[in-house]
């Protein structure tokens, strides 16, 4: 488990990333799309954050906004401080010095995210050349080491192969190798396992976790699958309709989830202990309109536990009684009397099927 390069980040400990009231809006013909509408969180060096939500929740836009990889039609607001430096207003030219070096990204589908006509080795060596000015021999050595780090069999052979000659899992490892090449302090993993077999998924997540520990690297793991973040993150942020609706250290979230949306997400995961033919709970309805967001809670129209207040007033993000680190936005969270009341009604209607956990 070599750690060939590690940047001496300006921050070796403590807060690496501070996101304050981040807003990303897109100007389109239909109007202003509020993809990300006021998200605040911070991330320490070496820690991992899972960002969970459905498609359209803004989670991918969030990660791309922080990276700075958005089209110029995006309207940005708020603040993103990376290693103490404000990056939100930076031009692509300036950001380029960070990309691949201090922060990098692993994309969802490695088949389309790797250049199909370029040898794997060359793609790994590219950032080494750009940022570290390595000559070819050194770069090749480093690329080999990286491939070993990500546990690809026969790394010498792989360097001269093309992406289509590798399996899905191997390609994703290559992507990780590329992302790690210059020793970044922040790694974004955008649905890194969605396009892979289940067996390979776990390996990839393990790999990311391992590299994180070895390199003291922060990781932001974006996914729609709560199961993915369950064992591999320190903290989880749940997004809905462009906003944070719940955020907590992972264990606390699973032990004590407050927002009914989070609960629905939990219940949509099939579990191995469930009896066979347990009906999977799906969340009915569609994500909210991001051009004209509702004035109340975004999830209310689809929430089985919603009441009038939910539709009229937006609940603020508040900490739980038990812990300051756990915040949520809900008027009638899990465990509250109103919630219990409704829950009983529902259970009596639906029966026990699907109400697992």
């Amino acid at each position: 488990m070599n750690v060939p390069i590690q940047t001496e980040g300006r921050v070796s400990d403590g807060t690496l990333l501070e996101v304050t009231d981040l807003k990303t809006h897109f100007r389109t013909e239909r109007g202003l799309v509020r993809a990300v509408d006021g998200v605040t969180f911070s991330l320490e060096r070496g820690k991992s954050l899972g960002v969970v939500g459905e498609s359209g929740s803004g989670k991918t836009v969030l990660s791309r906004t922080i990276m700075g990889l958005l089209p110029s039609t995006a309207v940005l607001d708020g603040s993103v401080k990376f290693a103490g430096q404000e990056t939100l207003g930076m031009s692509p030219k300036q950001m380029r010095h960070l990309w691949g070096r201090e922060m990098s990204m692993v994309f969802q589908n490695p088949m389309v995210s790797l250049n199909p006509l370029m040898k794997v080795g060359k793609q790994i060596m590219e950032p080494l050349d750009i940022h570290l000015g390595m000559d070819k021999r050194n770069a090749r050595e480093t690329a080999l080491t990286l491939l070993r780090d990500v546990r690809i069999p026969e790394p010498e052979k792989r360097l001269d192969q093309f992406p289509h000659e590798l399996s899905g899992g191997m390609r994703q490892r290559v992507m990780i190798a590329i992302a790690l090449a210059c020793g970044p302090t922040l790694l974004f993993a955008d649905e890194p396992t969605t396009a892979l077999d289940v067996t390979v998924q776990a390996q990839i997540l393990e790999l990311i976790g391992e590299q994180r520990r070895d390199r003291n690297m922060s990781v932001i793991l974006v996914t729609h699958d709560l199961g993915v973040v369950a064992g591999h993150t320190d903290e989880i942020a749940v997004m809905y309709g462009g906003r944070l609706v719940e955020k907590a250290p992972t264990k606390q979230l699973f032990a004590n989830m407050k927002m009914p949306y989070t609960m629905s997400l939990m219940r949509s995961i099939p579990k191995i202990e469930d009896p066979s033919h347990t009906r999977l709970l799906t969340i009915p309805g569609r994500p909210p309109d991001l051009v004209n967001p509702p004035k109340g809670c975004g999830f209310a129209p689809r929430c089985a536990y919603a009441r009038t207040k939910c539709l009229e007033e937006r609940p603020p993000l508040v900490p739980t009684v038990e812990s300051d680190d756990h915040v949520y936005a809900c008027w009638y969270p899990v465990g509250s009397p109103e919630f219990e009341e409704r829950d009983v009604e529902i259970l009596s209607r639906v029966g026990v099927a699907g109400a697992a956990s």
């Binding site: 990276m67 990889l69 692509p92 380029r96 010095h97 960070l98 990309w99 691949g100 070096r101 990098s104 990204m105 994309f107 969802q108 589908n109 389309v112 995210s113 790797l114 250049n115 199909p116 006509l117 370029m118 590219e126 950032p127 750009i130 940022h131 093309f162 289509h164 992507m175 590329i178």
Partner: protein, 317 residues
């Protein structure tokens, strides 16, 4: 291997078919005797008739059409292209070919080179500025260039650059040194190249814009690759496929266009030769050049296939 063999067979069949059509057309619709003997065909005196008989025997004109074809084909395949009907002394056709083919080849190569050299930077530029004001102007101008017929373009270019601004010479002189001959070919080559460049540019631009939407481009950017290198090193190569195909197919089309351009700029190449030969009904010349052009066309298609497999490693066998 089976695939390449098939292609070869089809190519040969094609050449056969083309030669038959041409041979048939010339002999059925035209009058070979007239071309050999000129007005003497009408000579009904005993000497005249003897002359006609001799001519018939010498050129096998007394035999039926299929036989004549077979004879010609046999000779042709052995490299004997026959003699020129209409030139004094009737020199062998192959002399003519040897003299003129290189010129046409050079012209075509220059044209395609110019076209590519113009199209690639242009398309890269307009892809990076897609849908902006200047890009729209550029797209419109490609439209204008393509719409203008090549003979009209030739006249316009000749007027502007040879006459008004006097940059290029007006004629082609076969005895001039090689370099100045190349220079003399620039204007004709440009005439052929400009519309081709416009077509290539449109294609490349579209493909580049599509490629630039791909995820691996974003990935490259996220590695810190500069905009310029993203274009050249990552976006260009995957966008070349349609271009290569059209490039190949276009070579055939350009051969046709070269005929007119050679005639206008009075370049003594294969194109202007065949035009003359057709007008003078000089069959062997026509047949020889038609076969050469068709063979070239077929060969180009095969080369395109090979190029394809080189660009895209996924296609390699």
């Amino acid at each position: 291997m089976n695939y390449w063999l098939q292609r070869l067979v089809i190519a040969v069949l094609l050449l056969l078919a083309v030669s038959m059509v041409t041979f048939g057309a010339m002999n059925v619709l035209g009058d070979p005797l007239f071309n050999i003997l000129g007005p003497r065909v009408g000579d009904t005196s005993p000497e005249g008739l003897e002359l006609i008989d001799d001519a018939k025997a010498e050129y096998n004109l007394d035999k039926p059409l299929p036989v004549r074809y077979a004879l010609w084909a046999g000779d042709f395949v052995r490299g004997d292209f026959g003699v020129q009907f209409s030139n004094d002394g009737q020199p062998p056709v192959s002399n003519l070919i040897k003299e003129r083919l290189p010129r046409s080849a050079v012209l075509l190569v220059m044209a395609q080179l110019f076209a590519t050299a113009i199209a690639i930077p242009w398309s890269l530029w307009s892809a990076s500025k897609a849908n902006s004001g200047v890009d729209k102007v550029s797209t419109f101008s490609t439209f204008l260039i393509i719409a203008l017929p090549n003979f009209a373009l030739a006249v316009v270019l000749k007027y502007l650059f040879a006459i008004k601004f006097g940059i290029f010479p007006l004629t082609y002189t076969a005895d001039d040194p090689a370099l100045s001959r190349l220079f003399q070919l620039v204007l004709p080559a440009l005439t052929i190249a400009l519309p081709a460049a416009a077509v290539y540019q449109r294609l490349l631009r579209t493909d580049l814009i599509t490629t630039l939407q791909e995820d691996f481009i974003l990935m490259a950017r996220s590695k810190g690759v500069s905009r310029r290198n993203v274009l050249f090193k990552h976006a260009l190569r995957p966008s070349l496929f349609s271009f290569v195909t059209v490039f190949g197919i276009n070579t055939g089309a350009l051969i046709g266009g070269a005929l007119i351009v050679e005639t206008i700029f009075r370049v003594p190449g294969l194109g202007s030769t065949i035009v003359e030969a057709v007008l003078r009904e000089d069959f062997p010349v026509v047949l020889a050049i038609v076969m050469i052009i068709t063979a070239a066309f077929v060969a180009v298609n095969i080369v395109v296939d090979i190029l394809y497999s080189l660009i895209d490693p996924r296609v390699r066998r």
